[in-house]
Every structure is written in C-alpha cells, then in structure tokens.
Subunit: 232 residues, 2 copies
C-alpha cells in the first residue's frame, strides 16, 4: 500500500493532500477507490480511500492506527558537506535505517554551508514515505556546535579522526537501550578545541571503524552501529 504524508489531522474524516502529494499520487496512477496510507509523521497511519477526479483529490479516512516511536532514539549531529547531494543521501539512508533527528552543525573546519532547509525536510518526507515510517525525523536548522555541546542526552559521542588515546570504538562504548547523540565532523575533522570542549561536556570520543570515512558515510555507519546495537 502506498504511503503519503500530510502533517495535519483529517478534517471530518477527510485529508486534502498538499500539492506535492497530489503530484505523487498522480505519478503512482492509483485509481479512485483504491486504498492508500497517509501518515502525519507523528505516529499516525490513516488507511484511506482515494477519491479523485481530474480536478480534485482527497483521501477519505477508513481507519487510523497509532504507533509509538521506536526507542531508544538517535540524534545525528553532522557538519554538512559542501555538496548538499551527499547530505541528502545521508538523510535518506539515516531515515531508512532509523534516526530521530538530524542536526546540521557549523564547525570550525567547515565553510558555512548554504542549507536549503525546506528541501532537506522534503528529502526526509520522501524517505519516510518510501521506507514506510510513521515518524518524520526533524531536520534542524544549521546549529552552532556550542549549542550541541550543551544538549542533554543519555549518551553523547563525538566521532573524530585525530590521534587520541582516549578514543574507543563506538560499537564498544555505545550502551543499548539509551538515547544517543552522535557528532560527525566535516572532511577536515573537528578541531582540537571542539574535541576538548565536547569531552568537557560529557561527550565520549569515538572511532567508527579503522578507516577514514567521508562525512556522509560516517553518518550512515554511526546510524547502523546504533540500530544494530539495539538488536543484540
């Protein structure tokens, strides 16, 4: 069953899809009377009947199921790559594998990117529809690392490539069952100052394997390690 997205509650049992969704519905060539799913990205899945003519499209809600968000939750803080394509790939993959939110961060060794936030959020919407998820990860606005340092999470990690005797493999130090915030640095890595400040704020310095990974690959590896840990 195809899945569409609409952020608000049905009104009188009807969802009037947003323009992008109408385009998507038309592209799938689903016929009138067929059943489709529609999620609000907040855990609700409405099973609907498509009512359409050449002019208007609406989803008539037949039943609604409510899901709890999977826990524990992962927040990925990532210094965006210059190439926004790669960040979009990361959003798509992280959503597929399982992420609660993605926070693009401004770090010392990265140029201030021009983030098209609306587009990134649309990438996340497309990803939840394709992966059939009912929770839409929030893609934050560009955030300073200072602000990330002070975030409160059960576990906090900073992945970096510098020589650091205290660094452990994420796979070894991640505790299962607890929310986590994992910071992924830019191509030029986090600065010494950022790593020190993070540690002073309770972040554990980690490696993601033995290879030096691109930013978006590191983000996907971290997401995979987090989700796999929960299944052990």
């Amino acid at each position: 069953m195809h899945l569409f997205y609409h952020p608000e509650n049905p009104i009188n049992g009807v969802i009037v899809p947003l323009d992008e969704e109408v385009k998507h519905i038309r592209a799938t060539r689903i016929r009138e009377g067929e059943h489709v799913g529609c999620t609000d990205g907040k855990g609700n899945l409405h099973t609907c009947e498509l009512v359409t003519d050449k002019k208007n499209t609406a989803l008539h809600v037949l039943e609604t199921a409510t899901f709890k968000e999977k826990t524990p939750r992962l927040m990925l803080a990532v210094a965006p790559t210059k190439n926004q394509d790669r960040l979009e790939w990361l959003i798509e993959k992280a959503v597929e594998i399982g992420v609660h939110a993605i926070i693009p961060i401004l770090s010392e060794h990265s140029e201030k990117p021009f983030l098209k936030s609306e587009r990134l959020q649309r990438v996340a919407v497309a990803a939840i529809k394709q992966s059939e998820k009912y929770f839409l990860p929030r893609i934050h606005e560009l955030t300073s690392f200072q602000e990330v340092f002070t975030m409160n999470m059960a576990q906090k990690f900073i992945a970096h490539c510098a020589v650091d005797a205290s660094k452990k493999q994420l796979n070894s130090v991640l505790e299962l069952g607890k929310d986590a915030l994992i910071c992924i640095g830019p191509e030029g890595d986090f600065s010494t100052r950022e790593i020190e400040t993070a540690k002073q704020n309770g972040f554990i310095a980690v490696s993601l394997g033995e290879e030096r990974l691109r930013t978006e690959t590191a983000g996907m590896v971290a997401t995979t390690v987090f989700q796999m840990k929960q299944l052990l």
Copy 2:
C-alpha cells in the same frame, strides 16, 4: 598525498599513467617535483615524483611499500538495482568501509540489468583513490545465483525479508575473523526457491535490522556490520 592508480608494475622505475589518471593528475594541479602515491590495487604503494610538461606525464618511483590485504575478507553478492546510480553508490561506500569483491547477481525477481562493467570498475578505482586503499575490489561480471550458491566461503549468508523462523540477525550469527559471503536481494526480495536452495548450500538466512531496506542500503549495512564485528 594524492593517490593514483596504475594496474602494472613500474618499468625502469617509471610509471606512465593511463589517460584517465593523467586527467585526474591535471585536475589536482599537482606541480612537477611534488610527491604522489600510486597503487596497483594489489597491495603496492609507490611513492613517486611527478615529472610533467605540457605533453607528457610520468611518475618516477622513489620507494615502494607493500601491504597485506586486511582480513577477514567480505564478498558482497548483490542483485543490482534497476538504477545503476545506486549500485555505483554502493560500490563507493562498500569500498570505503571495506569490501574484497562485489558480485552482481541475476536473481528471479530482478529484471536482467544492463551492467556497464567497465564503468563499475572505474567507480571502484575512484573509490580506492579517494579512500586511500591499496587493494582494488574486483567488481565481477553479472553472475547467476546458481554460481553463487556453489561458492566456497568460511561463512555464507543470505539476507532476505520474507517470514522465516530460522532467520537470525546478521550481527548475532556473524563470526569474527572469518571470510564471509553475504547475498543481498533485489527490491522484490529473493524467491522462496532461491532462499531454500541457498540454505541447502550452507547459507544462513539473516536479517539486517528490523527495517525493510533498499538494496544498496542493505549492502552498506551488511558491510558495516561485517567490519564492526572485526573490531570487537
């Protein structure tokens, strides 16, 4: 230090780069006299001095280091996606995280793809240069699943999405320190017959987490799980 690729041994201490490499060298604007690396993809890293004028380019070998391939080794057998972009993306990411070979397989539920094998091998070459690896993973020609069934590997897994009481999480059944062959199915999953035949040939049926993943994401997750396991 930039890394280039040349499949053959230096002749009289000189490597004459292939055309694509000359283009790459020119794009990096490395100057004459500067040092660059050149690998043959078989474990050798030649540190070279660039000798160039407007017409000719050559690498004069200063010294050669020989590396052993990291073990254990991972072979990823993947039913290619219709969209070759996604397979190329998987090759890039799998090389980055660590893979020995990728075998595109023809499975019952996938249309026979038109694989541009030369292009896929070039993607692998670009990936080892960017990730600074000295072993070039082999990208096989399209292979029948029958042939894959009879391959001899220390551990063999088939990842699929069907209901299967015998299925385990890859993360749990993978043994560290042993070579592995992991099969990733097409969007339509492996057929019942393929799964049964695989099991009869010693393949263990596995899951890659709890979500249904795209083929290329599944390949990346499997590669990550394999490499992370080795570090425990």
